[in-house]
């Protein structure tokens, strides 16, 4: 587990960028945090780390945005979804198990029973207007390496 305090959205994005550089194809990143806590900002950073040039926007409305980079990024947002039943009809399994890209899921807690055993959980908490407390936790062991790598870079946020 790793907890990082970011001073502003740029630092949150920088953390995301380092993460994007460290994640392997097939990775699943589950983001939890209230409105305005910086989930989309972090995913924007992940996109930069993957060399994606498109603007990464909030997918709240259309639920899924796909981007092609060094590794494809699938940006899911469950904000508007109500129940597990509706989430399970999304066809998310294809993104998790077949496409071999990076899957970043906002409001992932809504599908916690559907997540695979191995994923990287990132919790974002609002400390004050610009400052965020970001906690990374590996479910299963495969993301411990990523966390170790980010730890070494942590002094730069």
């Amino acid at each position: 587990m790793l907890t990082i305090l970011t001073e502003n959205p740029e630092a949150t994005k920088q953390l995301g960028e380092n993460l994007g550089r460290s994640l392997l194809p097939g990775s699943i990143v589950a983001l939890a945090g209230e409105l305005g806590s910086g989930k989309t900002t972090l995913v924007q950073g992940i996109g930069q780390g993957l060399g994606i040039n498109n603007i990464i926007k909030s997918p709240s409305f259309v639920i899924i945005h796909e981007y092609s980079g060094r590794v494809p990024l699938y940006h899911l947002d469950l904000y508007r979804l109500a129940s597990l039943q509706e989430i399970s009809s999304l066809g998310y399994e294809e993104y998790f198990y077949e496409k071999n890209g990076i899957v970043a899921i906002e409001w992932a807690e809504k599908m916690k029973d559907l997540l695979p055993p191995e994923f990287l959980k990132i919790k974002l908490e609002i400390v004050n207007l610009s400052k965020r407390k970001i906690t990374l936790e590996s479910y299963g062991s495969s993301y411990n390496k990523v966390i170790e790598k980010l730890k070494r870079l942590a002094c730069f946020y």
Binding site: G36, T41, Q44, K57, S60, E66, E86
Partner: protein, 335 residues
């Protein structure tokens, strides 16, 4: 000249809509079955529910459009349906039925870009609108600033870097406990508030850009509310809604004016659900640069509808630009 009757179908998001437009100009019928009530229960869109509801509604809505327009199915000359952007499951319902009818009747089918249709409404309603011009689409899913150099030639000048304008309205409405859909709720309560009472930040980019950002304003509202809650103080909902609405209006106006100046156009057209916001309309009219003429679709044609789809298809059919029946839904379609 023989009349050309086009049936338009729109199911990209919340609304199941069908309409008949004659010669791309005259609206014979406009039927919209909104799922807003259904989604209100869930405070948002439920995609699977949405496509199931579209399936239930699409046939009755098409029948109603034919009846209201006094048109028989066999007299249709072409069918148009939205093929993107939107929710995949929802798009497929309208697209599939449109292709089915076109195939059965042996008439042309045209797939329509939802964004183009939102702008095209202005050509339907205002004969004096003609390119070159700048367009702005503002809705729950989109914030697109467009340069239209000539008919059919679109260039995206700016877009949101985070939340869409309408999405920001929805999320701020959620923060303020105003319910869904957020746009009308904020507009209503903001009438009782002072837009200058609460200082909210307007996002500035370091570089020169025509892009938008609404996430910072949303977060500022959230933070303001949390701070008051922590201290157990009264939350001035109306003032917050009004101040938020003003900031959104300022951000939109600022880029729209800049784009109009940059492209030296005399006409600016708007479209999408947020352009039905009356505060925004009057703010834009007041703050727009001199010599620029603004066009807003009538209120019922700002939000999703099928009139815009049928109208947008007309010039394409005239030019023989029908779509193949193999055309697929494209959830991430751009202009």
């Amino acid at each position: 000249m023989k009349k050309m009757l086009i049936l338009g179908i729109e199911t990209s998001c919340d609304e199941t809509a069908a309409a008949i437009v004659e010669n791309g100009k005259r609206t014979l019928s406009n039927v919209v079955a909104s799922q807003v009530e259904l989604h209100q229960k869930f405070q948002g869109i439920v995609p699977e529910l949405a496509s199931r509801k579209h399936l239930e509604l699409i046939i009755p809505v098409i029948k109603e459009a034919l009846k209201e327009g006094g048109v028989k199915l066999k007299n249709l000359d072409a069918i148009a349906a939205t093929y993107g952007p939107g929710l995949l499951g929802s798009l497929l319902v309208g697209l599939t039925i449109a292709k089915g009818i076109a195939y059965t009747l042996r008439i042309p089918f045209v797939g329509i870009n939802h964004l183009e249709a939102h702008l095209y409404v202005n050509f339907l309603q205002y004969p004096q609108v003609s390119p070159p011009l700048v367009g702005l689409i503002i809705s729950g899913g989109h914030t697109e600033l467009i340069y239209l150099s000539k008919e059919g030639e679109y260039k995206v000048l700016g877009t949101t870097r985070d939340d869409a304008a309408g999405e920001a309205f929805d999320k701020v409405a959620r923060i303020l406990n105003l319910g869904y859909p957020g746009g009308p709720a904020i507009e209503e309560i903001a009438k009782k508030g002072n837009p200058h009472s609460i200082p909210l930040p307007l996002t500035h980019f370091k570089e020169d850009t025509l892009d938008f950002s609404f996430s910072g304003i949303k977060t500022a509202v959230l933070y303001y509310v949390k701070d008051l809650q922590k201290r157990g103080e009264f939350i001035p909902t109306a003032d917050l809604a009004a101040s938020f609405q003003l900031k959104v209006a300022q951000m939109l106006t600022q880029n729209l004016s800049k784009a109009a100046h940059l492209k030296k156009v005399k006409q600016v057209i708007l479209g999408g659900g947020v352009s039905s916001n009356l505060f925004l309309r009057s703010f834009l009219e007041k703050e727009k640069p001199e010599g620029i003429e603004l066009f807003f679709p009538s209120l019922e044609l700002c939000t999703d509808n099928a009139v815009m789809v049928a109208a947008c298809a007309y010039p394409k059919i005239k030019k023989g630009k029908a779509s193949p029946l193999s055309l697929d839904a494209q959830p991430n379609l751009n202009l």
